[in-house]
């Protein structure tokens, strides 16, 4: 599937296109098909996202998984600071990015 991601213009938070708006959880991502670039333009112009781009992803039992490690690290947070990731209580969360 194709999903759309970027950063919140004001906070810089990593965000994912969830169909009716943006979510901080990669698991909320929806397939944007071939509409990603157009969506990115509209959302950037509306100041809701910055540096938006379309990536490949798959869905498995754990949810949406970006194809590239860089986006998996973006989805989680810095693997060297588990306390600052979106899963601070999951000791094995870092393994998901590899």
């Amino acid at each position: 599937m194709k999903i759309l991601t970027g950063n919140d213009l004001g906070t810089g938070d990593v965000i994912w296109w969830a169909g009716d708006g943006w979510s901080r959880q990669v698991g909320d991502s929806v397939d944007v098909g071939d509409k990603g670039d157009e969506l990115a333009r509209v959302e950037e112009a509306a100041l809701r996202v910055v540096s938006a781009y379309v990536i490949d992803a798959t869905v498995d039992e754990e949810g949406v998984r970006p194809a590239h490690i860089k986006d998996r690290i973006r989805a989680l947070g810095p693997t060297v600071r588990p306390d600052l990731t979106l899963k601070p209580n999951d000791a094995d969360a870092g393994n998901w990015v590899i």
């Binding site: 810089g12 990593v14 100041l47 490690i69 973006r74 693997t79 060297v80 600071r81």
Partner: protein, 543 residues
């Protein structure tokens, strides 16, 4: 310590207001990201993987307790309670909100700090020797010149849109503690017939094409350094390549023209420039110099250190450098705890070091390019008290220049340019080689890790260097040996095929084992490598 006068302050204050205006225009939609990006970069504001990152300049790595405390306060108030000291002796905050950035700059301005030109294709923070002013082997304190050049380079109207970023380093000692010859321009102050001047080196750098800078002038008199640099920069600005960002640094120009031709063009330009009155008068250097004059040292102090506590003695042996004033010592504070993140410091640690600087180091501290901190003026009698406080804060690691004193860029955990994570590898290495005796036995061994070819982790200059690459979406690490950023500067050679993260730790252990078995009396790892060459190391790794 240099202190701003009203001119310096008004320039920095004006910059804060300018950036506030630019951020407001961006948040209101009057500037697109394409238009805003170069403006925010000129103030050190990047968009990284997880948030905006702000890089604060620490000119020539010197700051006082009040400034350090402000850095801690900002970490707590606007970030997530920590900061990261970089190889350019700056500090990066990883979790900044765009709307907060102008307020942060305003807070920095209250302690005479800024983020000007910490990014962009302009002259970056001037770097220098962390032992400036206190080492016995220097001709003069290089920092007055560094401050003069900080001012000269700030908003230089001709050199704000160079082909690529531009890094200048000023040192004045025989021992090069600042990787001077790996800078776009390196200045080494020397004395000739009782006059101070600079040896000038141009075209060094790391990145994709690492080069050790050749000398282009063996003596530029101190009162002509500014106009000489104007000449060097003008030739680069006009003829540096702009068609390919990977070939745009001055090192490529110097290499393609040839040193002699670059030199000739600079001399021609300089002949013209020196007539223009571009150099500040000697009175200006005389005005700046006293700010850096040695503080009021006490005399008659003892050089005795009570070594009864073995852990303290170990730390003293490793972290203390000779101060030129009897009874005083230079204290190196490691930001490389076992299993830790190289260069990171919590707000509490930053506060503590600010307190220590004020209480014990005549209100001064330094940041090193190896991502450590220095208290430059400590009475030997105070060492034990300092050590106890550092130890309680997790800052008493005794590993300076040892295998676990690793330089590492933020890598793919934070950086949008990175191809692989640097920090987890540094952590694994420091765990693997954690034993104090083992590290001590291995001796000076500089390990440097970069998460991509931009080489922010100085891997080319590592005795052992590691470069992270992306191999079909999987992190992979290339090992190199034999680099040095010191006075014997050299560029490391790649050993061969790359490794996984665990694989490169194993490979480094094989390399160090070979060193231990082959070294001759008094040889560092680097010396043994240079004597034996790559072949036996390669066999040990891949054989």
């Amino acid at each position: 310590m240099y202190r701003y006068d009203n001119y310096d302050q008004s320039i920095v204050d004006a910059r804060v207001e300018e950036f506030r205006d630019q951020v407001q225009r961006r948040l209101a939609g009057h500037l697109t990201e394409d238009q805003f990006k170069p403006l925010r970069l000129m103030n050190g504001l990047y968009l990284q993987l997880h948030a905006y990152m702000l890089r604060v300049a620490i000119p020539y790595g010197t700051l006082n307790g009040r400034q350090m405390r402000k850095l801690g306060e900002i970490a707590r108030k606007y970030d997530k309670g920590y900061g990261h000291f970089t190889t350019r002796t700056n500090l990066q905050y990883n979790w900044i909100k765009l709307a907060d950035a102008p307020d942060i700059l305003a807070e920095l301005a209250t302690v005479e700090m800024h983020a000007i030109q910490t990014s962009g294709n302009c002259i970056r923070n001037i770097s220098s020797d962390q032992y400036a002013g206190v080492s016995a082997d220097e001709v003069t304190d290089p920092r007055p010149w560094a401050e003069l050049l900080r001012q000269w380079s700030t908003f230089h109207p001709e050199f704000t849109y160079l082909p690529r970023k531009f890094k200048i380093c000023v040192i004045a000692a025989e021992e090069d503690r600042a990787a001077m010859r790996l800078h776009d321009i390196g200045l080494k102050l020397v004395s000739r017939d009782g006059k101070v001047g600079a040896e000038v080196y141009a075209g060094g750098g790391m990145g994709r094409t690492p080069m050790v800078a050749p000398q282009i002038n063996d003596f530029v008199p101190e009162d002509e350094i500014v106009s000489y640099l104007e000449a060097c920069l003008r030739v680069y600005n006009r003829y540096g390549r702009r068609d390919n960002k990977y070939k745009a640094r001055i090192k490529i120009l110097v290499h393609e023209l040839g040193v002699e031709e670059y030199k000739r063009q600079v001399e021609e330009e300089f002949a013209h420039m020196r007539e223009l009155g571009l150099n500040p008068p000697t009175e200006e250097l005389d005005r700046i110099r006293p700010f850096f004059a040695g503080p009021a040292y006490e005399t008659g102090l003892s050089d005795e250190i009570d070594r009864a506590d073995p852990a303290f003695a170990l730390w003293v042996d490793r972290q203390i450098a000779a101060h030129r004033q009897p009874g005083y010592a230079i204290v190196n504070i490691s930001l490389k705890p076992r299993g830790g993140i190289p260069g990171d410091a919590s707000a509490e640690q930053i506060d503590l070091v600010a307190d220590l600087a004020e209480a014990y180091s005549l209100d001064e501290l330094r940041v090193t390019h190896a991502q450590n901190l220095v208290l430059p003026h400590v009475k030997k009698a105070d060492l034990h008290a300092i050590w106890q406080k550092l130890d309680a804060a997790g800052l008493a690691e005794a590993n300076m220049d040892l295998i676990s004193d690793i330089i590492a860029c933020p890598g793919l955990d934070y950086c949008s340019l990175a191809n692989a994570r640097s920090i987890p590898l540094a952590q694994k290495l420091s765990e693997r080689f954690a034993g104090a005796d083992r590290q001590k036995d291995l001796g000076e061994l500089k390990v440097k890790i970069s998460g991509c070819i931009n080489a922010c982790g100085h891997h080319h200059a590592g005795h052992i260097g590691v470069l992270g690459v992306d191999r079909k979406g999987v992190e992979n690490f290339q090992l190199s040996l034999g680099g040095s950023g010191a006075q014997d500067a050299s560029v490391g050679q790649i050993t061969g095929p790359g490794f996984s993260e665990d694989g490169v730790v194993d490979a480094i252990e094989k390399v160090t084992d070979l060193y231990l078995s082959q070294r001759e009396e008094g040889e560092r790892f680097l010396d043994t490598y240079r004597r034996l060459g790559m072949k036996p190391f390669k066999e040990a790794i891949y054989g």
